[in-house]
């Protein structure tokens, strides 16, 4: 059945032999008629997000950590009109700083927290940092994301520890299982297991004959029991939570989300998020799962780890070619998962997004989404690079349309196309007047079987406006 697919050439966008110099060139990027793009700042290291103060000045956060286990210093930078960067605040060794927003005179930053756990930070314009909440379960594959401030609350996302609920060999490769051998996913409410668990090598010992059995929501090498109840807790994994702006404990908004990364309110006041879907890795790989744009309905469970985009993982189309079908691990479900607003490219890493709202930019109400691009082969195989562009989504009918893409015979990052276009757009944000769409481009990340190599100093901030020719 899958013989042909198995031998097809795999071709992820990170698959480059040499690291080229980054030379941004707007004419290598295609936009719909009437729009133009320019580079605003270059030489950024792992930039992840952007916010604006009351005067409309842009501030970029540099993540300070990247997949590939690269640590640098997380920073909040003010971008001057001439592109110069002025450091406002710096973090310790607890990146990645994944998101930033500005509200009533302060910045709010989600600190991924690979080493010390996730946090939400408040940073005043003088650079003083206050921790609003700490100890978020961020030691694993996915981290603390968001935030947005609305109606007196800071909303944030918390990614899961694992790909699909079960700690395994892939987590050793990520780097954290050695650091945190007891870490695992935490449900937000009680879940009942159906008893399915997964046999692997015991990767925490050197003995090749030593085997492990691991169940979902459990530490590595802890088997599951039929009808075992895992108690829900807060804070939890794979969820949207919120804390009062005045401080206080985490409250649950929604859960059952794998890695809720981007977060934005639509002009009509609805909360949306982007979810990075399953990879083909670990003990419980799931194939063909598209990233999702979801509208968040408070109190709802969105399906992880037994559904993808509202469909059960054991239904047609999620079986890894040449391997078995993924099987459910939960005995019952809190609710039927909702229907997605839009399904985006498999492995596109659809991340930060924002809604258009000005007549001068046009496209009012459309969601503009930055696609970081695939990390094949680590996430699974792709036949062509996926992502590396800006798409827009009509939230009424789910139609996804390319908006800003690299020119070339094929789609892919600039380093792969040998051009001066986008590398890995990680966030987009409209300026406060809505007339300019800023694009935070993380920079070059080489991904091969042997290594994940993010390249310092290759990040770029772009801006798109309408009214060119």
């Amino acid at each position: 059945m899958s013989g042909c697919y198995g031998i097809r050439n795999a071709n992820g966008g990170g698959d480059i032999e040499e690291i080229p110099a980054r030379r941004p060139n707007p004419s290598d990027i295609a936009l719909p008629a009437g729009y133009k793009i320019e580079a605003v700042a270059t030489n950024l290291t792992f930039p992840s997000a952007i916010a604006f103060d009351d005067s409309g000045t842009p501030y970029v956060v540099e993540s300070g950590y990247s997949y590939g286990e690269e640590w640098t210093e997380p920073r909040l930078l003010r971008i001057e009109p001439d592109g110069r960067k002025v450091t406002v605040a710096t973090g310790g060794k607890n990146g990645p700083w994944n998101g930033v927003t500005f509200h009533q005179g302060s910045f709010y930053i989600s600190e991924g927290g690979v080493l010390e756990g996730g946090k939400i930070l408040r940073v005043n314009p003088g650079g003083q940092i206050t921790t609003m909440i700490s100890g978020l379960p961020s030691y694993g594959d996915h981290h603390t994301n968001g935030p947005v401030v609305r109606d007196g609350y800071v909303y944030f996302g918390q990614g899961t520890a694992t790909n699909s609920g079960v700690v395994g060999k892939d987590n050793l490769e990520f780097g954290w299982l050695k650091r945190k051998p007891d870490f695992h996913d935490i449900p937000c409410q009680d879940v009942t297991l159906n008893g399915r668990d997964y046999k692997t090598d015991n990767v925490l010992t050197d003995d090749p004959d030593d085997k492990a059995r691991t169940g979902p929501y459990l530490p590595f090498n802890t088997p599951a029991k039929k009808n075992q109840v895992i108690s829900g807790q807060l804070p939890c994994s794979g969820a949207i939570m919120r804390i009062p702006v005045s401080g206080g404990p985490a409250e649950l908004v929604a859960w059952g989300l794998r890695n809720p990364y981007g977060m934005a309110y639509s002009p009509d006041g609805r909360l949306f998020i982007t979810e990075n879907a399953y990879d083909v890795r670990g003990s419980r790989p799931v194939w063909g799962t598209g990233d999702v744009l979801w509208e968040i309905k408070p109190g709802t469970w969105y399906g992880w780890p037994d559904y993808s985009a509202g469909r059960p993982v054991d239904s047609k189309g999620f079986k890894v070619p040449g391997e078995g079908k993924p099987k459910p691990v939960l005995a019952k479900y809190p609710n039927d998962p909702p229907k997605p607003t839009a399904v985006l490219g498999v492995h596109s890493s659809s991340n930060g997004f924002d809604f258009a709202r000005s007549t001068s930019f046009g496209e009012q109400g459309e969601a503009f989404i930055a696609q970081f691009g695939d990390m094949a082969p680590n996430v699974g195989k792709v036949l062509s690079p996926v992502g590396y562009k800006i798409v827009k989504v009509n939230t009424t009918n789910g139609v996804v349309t390319d908006f800003a893409v690299n020119k070339g015979k094929k789609n892919g990052p600039a380093s792969w196309l040998k051009s001066g276009g986008f590398e890995r757009p990680n966030a987009v944000q409209f300026s406060p007047d809505g007339n300019t769409l800023y694009v935070v481009d993380f920079g070059i990340m080489q991904v091969t079987k042997e290594k994940t190599h993010p390249v310092e100093g290759t990040g770029v901030l772009w801006k798109i406006t309408k009214g060119g020719n």
Partner: protein, 118 residues
């Protein structure tokens, strides 16, 4: 047994597709920023676009390659075959998932996309 049968169909399909690829242009990219809006904007094309987004976009973004191969150079008859039979690693889509009418609309969209050469 299932495997052999499918491999045969797959081989036939591939042959058919390869034969028809004489019509292929040199790039498979057809999307808005590169080629402008679709020339054909009938109600059927618009409905077909929504079907494409629900069932195909994630693996063939804008008809380009991704998890699956590019499909913008392929004419409609072998595409229809591929959708119903799901040759190779791609899942098949039965009438319960995509009705006959929806498939016709999807085909109208795929044709408009394929012909959108700027």
């Amino acid at each position: 047994m299932e495997t052999t049968r499918n491999n045969k169909i797959s081989l036939l399909g591939t042959l058919l597709v390869s034969l028809l690829i004489v019509f292929a242009s040199c790039t498979y990219r057809r999307s808005l920023p590169l080629k402008g809006p679709l020339d054909t904007q009938t109600a059927s094309v618009q409905k077909g676009e929504v079907i494409f987004m629900e069932h195909c976009q994630k693996c063939h973004p804008q008809g380009e390659g991704g998890l699956g191969p590019a499909i913008n150079h392929i004419p409609n008859p072998p595409k229809r075959l591929q959708i119903r039979l799901g040759l190779g690693a791609m899942p098949a889509f039965g009438k319960d998932q995509i009705s006959k009418e929806e498939l016709d609309n999807l085909m109208a969209y795929l044709k408009a996309l394929r012909n959108n050469k700027g």
